[in-house]
């Protein structure tokens, strides 16, 4: 690896997406600088680094800008090869990518919309969210982590469920993730948040709760995930 490497993460403390990136870097022991963004007033660096989407997280590595959390995770795994987060074998590697995309394309959106809609629409989203959580619960089965004995790509991708979902459902006054319906996932959450590396990186729950409470009206109006 190069000496005097420059690794920066353009991030937002409450974002589950930038959390993914920081957790991966921490798991691999990569020293990095966290650059906090004010999402209402994005920095010139962010706008220059991700001109298409203008979103965090962005990883800056020796001047190269890599946006999109799942793409960053693959880049991190390929660049710093200690403690791999993706399986090596092609089928397992493909399945890890499949589940990460499933989380982003279907699960998170259904859970998010369940919190901020009402009536029949909310019922529909809650059914979708439960179906997704059931699929993940089945997929995890009795394993400690989605990655087996250690935290892997799918665990990192699923971190939204480990902290953010619990906070959101409290703010919204609904119940999605619970031990009766999703025993494997709930067991996974306990193990995940208790692990040293994760504890070091997670934002404080009470701060997260406070920020979502304060933004509740704004989110109800737009349903936007940028808060």
């Amino acid at each position: 690896m190069a000496e005097a490497e420059q690794v920066k993460v353009l991030r937002f403390w409450a974002s589950p997406w930038s959390f993914r990136v920081e957790l991966a870097l921490k798991l691999k022991g990569v020293p990095h600088e966290k650059v906090e963004e004010d999402l209402a007033n994005k920095s010139p660096l962010l706008l220059a680094s991700n001109p298409i989407h203008k979103k965090i997280p962005v990883l800056l590595h020796n001047g190269k800008a890599i946006p999109e959390s799942l793409i960053i995770l693959e880049y991190i795994d390929e660049t710093w090869t200690d403690n791999p987060i993706l399986p090596k074998a092609p089928h397992e590697r493909g399945m890890a990518r499949f589940w990460s995309r499933f989380i982003d394309d279907k699960c998170v959106g259904a859970c998010w919309m369940s919190c901020w809609t009402e009536g029949e629409t909310q019922q529909m989203f809650m059914e979708q969210a439960r179906a997704c959580l059931r699929i993940l619960d089945d997929e995890l089965g009795g394993r400690r982590f989605f990655g087996g004995e250690s935290i892997g790509l799918v665990d990192i991708s699923a971190s939204f469920f480990a902290l953010w979902l619990g906070v959101l459902q409290e703010v919204a006054g609904i119940s999605l993730i619970n031990g009766d319906e999703f025993p494997n996932l709930c067991r996974w959450i306990e193990g995940f948040v208790a692990s040293d590396v994760v504890t070091e990186c997670l934002p404080p729950r009470d701060k997260l709760l406070a920020v979502f409470q304060s933004k509740k009206q704004a989110i109800l109006a737009t349903k936007s995930m940028v808060y």
């Binding site: 298409i52 590595h61 190269k64 890599i66 946006p67 999109e68 793409i71 960053i72 693959e74 880049y75 390929e78 660049t79 092609p90 089928h91 590697r93 493909g94 399945m95 990518r97 499949f98 995309r101 499933f102 699929i135």
Partner: protein, 233 residues
């Protein structure tokens, strides 16, 4: 019993992606088309989460989602045929993956919106959105190709496959809707890329005939219009 099977047919651009990748690698496989409007037992068993094509089945193990499948093909057969599809270095891999996300999340939906537009206004808006996306890809092409024929440089790379699968559909829609989507004047590099891509032996092997795609597009448009008319009565 074929070791490699692919569920789907090339009329689907997502299936075509995987066929281009297999063709580049010169891997033999059995193609298992689905009947329109019906989903086979094999598909439902192999892709219970999405129930969609394409599904690659290799030694009886299924892999779903076209981007995941193409990466799988590249990893399992790294040196076969025309060689590696994903770029060699991590940063370029990230760039190809980034633009693939863009194609799937933004560009493809705007292409679909053009086909589904019910008013001239809606169509014009969808067309402009699509062209704006293509203009971004034009810039990306100039940077990534470094003066060579493909996004992958002098060989067909990941983004070439992931975007190239839509070429025949873009052309079919241009013909049926009397539109210019891939404008030569504003997208000269992409125009050149289309020619190179279509001329590649591995692509020619699997690219569906333009006439077939035009007929298919006309058919689904007619079905949609009939369904809308029936619903209105």
């Amino acid at each position: 019993m074929a070791a490699v099977k692919l569920i789907g047919s090339p009329i689907s651009p997502f299936v075509l992606r995987t066929m281009i990748a297999l063709s580049l690698k010169k891997v033999e496989y059995e193609l298992l088309p689905e009947k329109l409007g019906e989903k086979s037992e094999l598909l439902l068993k192999s892709n219970p989460v999405y129930k969609k094509i394409p599904v690659l089945i290799h030694h009886d193990r299924p892999i779903c989602e076209s981007a995941v499948i193409v990466e799988y093909i590249d990893q399992v057969w790294p040196e076969s045929g025309y060689g590696a599809i994903l770029p060699a270095d991590a940063y370029h891999r990230a760039l190809h993956r980034f633009w693939t996300f863009y194609v799937d999340d933004k560009l493809f939906p705007s292409l679909v919106a053009i086909g589904k537009a019910e008013t001239e206004e809606a169509k014009a808006e969808a067309v402009e959105q699509f062209r704006a996306g293509l203009r971004l890809l034009e810039e990306a092409f100039v940077k990534l190709s470094e003066g060579k024929a493909f996004f992958g440089g002098d060989h067909v790379g990941f983004l070439d496959v992931m975007l190239g699968c839509f070429v025949v559909w873009i052309e079919a829609m241009e013909e049926v809707l009397s539109l210019e989507l891939l404008e030569e004047a504003t997208m000269p590099a992409l125009h050149g890329w289309v020619v190179s891509f279509r001329a590649h032996e591995a692509v020619k092997e699997v690219m569906p005939e333009s006439g077939k795609v035009v007929e298919f597009f006309k058919m689904i448009r007619a079905m949609r219009m009939k369904a809308a008319a029936d619903a209105a009565n």
